[in-house]
């Protein structure tokens, strides 16, 4: 009886929490609809703080940031959204649009056709699907082993061995792809420039030679970090040190 009461109480609390989030969400949508983008952004960020990691939510935050004129943050959140779901069409289009707004030229598309094909393939399958596929493949492999043990004790085993080899090859492929996607999701190499401009130096101090000036919204690759300075690589391959507080890494908890 006691147990039941506790369960009931907990589910009630959970329901209330969900209901509260739902109203916040509705408020955010209506604020956006009424073009009160500041309020919409505030509410969406509030939902994010509750601990949700959701591609659609991140997309909406990025969208609202853009409406508030914060291009860098908008790009950052679009990237985050794509990190969770690489095939998120809205985020892809949004990011492409935003990248056209930055003062520095940058593009999403890979130049190499083969690479583009691979990227599309990689983005089309989610990490969880890969996990399920890997589990199914492992199950099939083990089932085949069982069959070999029990049914092929005194028989020619070429066919099941071939089958098992093919399955293992596919499993290795799936696991490799999973590793790539996993790294892509959890790596913290990418960052977005949030400050309006940043100056790149040849070393981690303004005393070094000035190498470049970059503008808000540029997607950078962090290669090294030291004190408050980051060595970043620009899309065109130029490297330089900028202050770390002018950028934010594309990470998800």
């Amino acid at each position: 009886m006691k147990k039941l009461a506790i369960i009931l109480f907990l589910s009630l609390v959970a329901n209330l929490m969900v209901a509260a989030t739902d109203t916040t969400l509705d408020d955010a949508f209506s604020a956006y609809q009424n073009q009160d983008y500041q309020q919409a952004l505030k509410l969406f960020l509030q939902i994010e703080n509750e601990g949700f990691i959701d591609a659609d939510l991140y997309y909406n935050i990025g969208n609202s940031y853009y409406r508030n004129g914060e291009l860098g943050q908008a790009i950052l959140y679009m990237k985050k959204s794509l990190k969770i779901d690489a095939s998120h069409e809205k985020a892809k289009r949004g990011l492409e649009f935003l990248l056209n707004q930055t003062r520095n030229k940058q593009s999403l598309q890979a130049d190499n056709l083969l690479l583009k094909f691979f990227n599309d393939f990689r983005d089309s399958i989610s990490l969880n699907w890969l996990a399920i596929i890997s589990l199914i493949l492992l199950g099939l492999i083990i089932l085949t082993i069982h069959i070999i043990i029990h049914r092929y004790a005194n028989r020619e085993r070429a066919v099941p061995y071939l089958f098992i080899t093919v399955l293992i090859a596919i499993l290795i492929l799936v696991l490799t792809l999973s590793k790539i996607k996993y790294d892509q999701r959890y790596q913290v190499k990418e960052a977005v420039l949030l400050s309006e401009t940043a100056i790149g130096y040849s070393g981690p101090s303004p005393d070094f030679t000035r190498v470049f000036t970059i503008h808000e919204g540029l997607i950078l690759e962090i290669e090294q970090e030291q004190d408050n300075w980051s060595l970043v690589k620009l899309p065109n391959g130029i490297g330089g040190w900028i202050t770390s507080d002018s950028l934010e890494k594309v990470t998800i908890r």
């Binding site: 956006y32 959701d54 939510l57 969208n63 969770i84 056209n100 990490l127 083990i142 082993i145 069982h146």
Partner: protein, 591 residues
């Protein structure tokens, strides 16, 4: 000339009128002769009816005496549009001798035919003392007496540049024709150096592909003429511009002087006289000046003025006239609400003169919405050099009645085009039906437990297989294994009976024990208890255990013959005894 005749004949063919057109010309073989020379005056009548014309009368010539005349006639046929047409040329050649020196004029000759009078041009003749020896150059004379030759050569072989206009406005086109005049036989022609035109934008209208002479009378002399080049020039700068001379190399075949002289050819370089063109700059242009210079007409039309939404019609704009048709900007259509103008098709048709023609601009227009739609007039401003003023022409304005259509606005298939992006913006929010925190399966412990379990199933399966093999290969091993099972089963029954203090306990205990022992001892089931006990005795078991087994058997036998002979307490005692015995027996390894 023949062309003219041809047209005339065509005219006859179509009208069937009996009016015949003929051509009448007169020319001499030389305009400067000596007193001792003779002058050949030729009267030429050509045309389809030339054969019917009577010999024209030569007027009285005071300064020349008529030495006689000869006649020649030739005819040619041509087929045009399947009709045969004849062209007859009749020549009356009079040989005249001058009576005295001086400048004379052979007056115009007249010919009346079918009520019309044809007149030739007067010819100027200069008569000098002695002879001008206007014989054609011979090979010897060319070599020895070039200076004299040149003077006669210049009269008989020259290149003339004919400029259509010498005073023009900027961008007003002029034509330059280079005509070769020759009274010699020319075997080959080639262009010399071309110095090009400075300050002009040039378009070549004509360059001959083969030597093709036509006869022409100029200053009373008969020449073979050939159009060497025709250029269309558009002056791009104002001021005095020069049309440079054109060089032509002509090979002239000399006449044979004797039987052994077959004649040879000599190359002469001819140059036309340069011309200077005065180009006036255009007066200050109005704002919407198109850059067109010439005389133009502006026409417009629409293919239909009543249509439905989604229907298309053609708006045609036609600029025709004479001038720099190719080099001006087209008038721009203003944007009209509810109408969509697709990119126009522009075509320029120029006549052979390269100056006149028309430009046609065709817009395909699609009505987007219903209502009365007005297309405002379009203006086109050009400079007319004749009037020396800017002229603006306007098209009519059109009113379209667009009715509601059942079709949405779709461009016609003829000019299909992709949708144009009219503005870029970030998309709307993504709909969130359920907020979820993306769970990564790879990070979940359930995934890894599943993996470990799957992997562990392999050794488990392997062990199971080995066990199976042992069972199938070793019958005794199988029975030993069975024995334990049987024992367990009977023990379970026995225990339940014991708990209920039933006498069935003894039956269960006895058969269980018997089967157990039979399997353990590898002897047939159903053997008597004596056989079992004797076999058991052979095994290495303690006497105490053997005695217990014996005692148990005895109790069981007793119970079978005397049901209900034991109290509850005794049954539980015997149960524990059975448990002890079996416990001990299962510990023993039987042979």
């Amino acid at each position: 000339m023949t062309k003219k005749v041809f047209y005339v004949i065509l005219f006859f063919c179509f009208t069937s009128l009996l009016l015949a057109e003929i051509n009448f010309e007169s020319y001499v073989d030389n305009t400067e002769i000596g007193l001792q020379d003779r002058l050949n005056l030729t009267l030429e009548i050509s045309g389809s009816d030339a054969g019917k014309v009577a010999q024209p009368q030569l007027p009285r010539l005071d300064n020349f005496s008529n030495l006689g005349s000869s006649t020649s006639s030739s005819s040619s046929y041509s087929f045009t549009n399947g009709k045969a047409q004849s062209n007859i040329t009749k020549k009356y050649i009079y040989t005249l001798r001058p009576r005295k020196t001086g400048d004379f004029i052979i007056p115009p000759l007249k010919l009346a035919y079918q009520g019309r009078t044809y007149t030739t041009n007067p010819i100027k003749i200069k008569v000098v003392e002695g002879t001008t020896a206007a014989a054609p150059p011979t090979s010897q004379r060319m070599q020895t007496n070039t200076r004299n030759d040149n003077t006669t050569l210049a009269d008989n072989l020259f290149l003339k540049a004919v400029v259509s206009d010498k005073q023009v406005y900027q961008d007003q086109p002029i034509t330059v024709e280079y005509i070769l005049y020759s009274r010699y036989e020319i075997s080959n022609l080639a262009f010399g150096e071309d110095s090009g035109y400075q300050g002009f934008w040039k378009e070549t209208l004509f360059v001959p592909e083969q030597i093709n002479f036509t006869t022409k009378t100029e200053n009373g002399l008969r020449y073979n003429t050939m159009l060497m080049k025709k250029d269309l020039l558009f002056p791009r700068e104002s001021g005095n511009l020069e049309i440079p001379s054109l060089q032509i190399k002509a090979d002239i075949r000399t006449q044979a002087r004797s039987f052994f002289d077959f004649g040879s050819s000599k190359t002469y370089t001819l140059e036309s006289k340069p011309h200077t063109i005065t180009v006036k700059s255009l007066p200050t242009a109005p704002e919407n000046f198109s850059g067109a210079v010439g005389a133009f007409q502006l026409n417009s039309r629409i293919s239909s003025s009543e249509l439905k939404v989604g229907d298309s019609f053609t708006y045609t704009l036609e600029i025709s006239g004479k001038g720099n048709l190719k080099n001006f900007t087209l008038p721009q259509l203003p944007a009209v609400n509810h109408l969509r103008f697709l990119d126009p098709e522009t075509s320029t048709q120029l006549n052979a003169d390269g100056v006149s023609g028309k430009r046609t601009i065709k817009y395909l227009v699609i009505a987007k919405e219903q209502g009365q739609i007005e297309i405002p007039p379009l203006s086109f401003t050009f400079f007319d050099p004749e009037k020396a003023a800017y002229i603006t022409r306007k098209t009519a304005n059109y009113t379209l009645a667009v009715a509601a259509g059942d079709m949405a606005y779709i461009p016609s298939s003829r000019a299909q085009m992709s949708v144009e992006m009219e503005g870029a913006d970030i998309g709307f929010l993504a709909e969130i039906s359920e907020l979820k925190t993306a769970e990564i399966i790879y990070k979940s412990w359930l995934y890894w437990i599943a993996v470990i379990l799957l992997l562990l199933s392999i050794p488990a399966s392997f062990i199971y297989r080995k066990e199976q093999e042992k069972l199938s290969s070793n019958q005794d091993y199988y029975r030993t294994k069975q024995a334990n099972k049987i024992l367990k089963k009977y023990m379970k029954d026995a225990t339940s009976y014991a708990k209920e203090n039933k006498a069935d306990f003894y039956t269960a205990a006895q058969s269980g024990l018997a089967n157990f022992l039979a399997d353990k001892l590898h002897i047939a089931r159903g053997s008597t208890s004596d056989v079992l006990l004797s076999e058991l005795e052979k095994q290495a078991i303690s006497d105490e255990l053997f005695a217990k087994v014996k005692e148990l058997y005895a109790i069981c036998n007793q119970a079978r013959f005397m049901p209900g002979g034991f109290s509850d307490q005794q049954i539980s005692q015997h149960h524990s005894l059975l448990k002890n015995v079996i416990n001990d027996l299962s510990k023993i390894k039987f042979k």
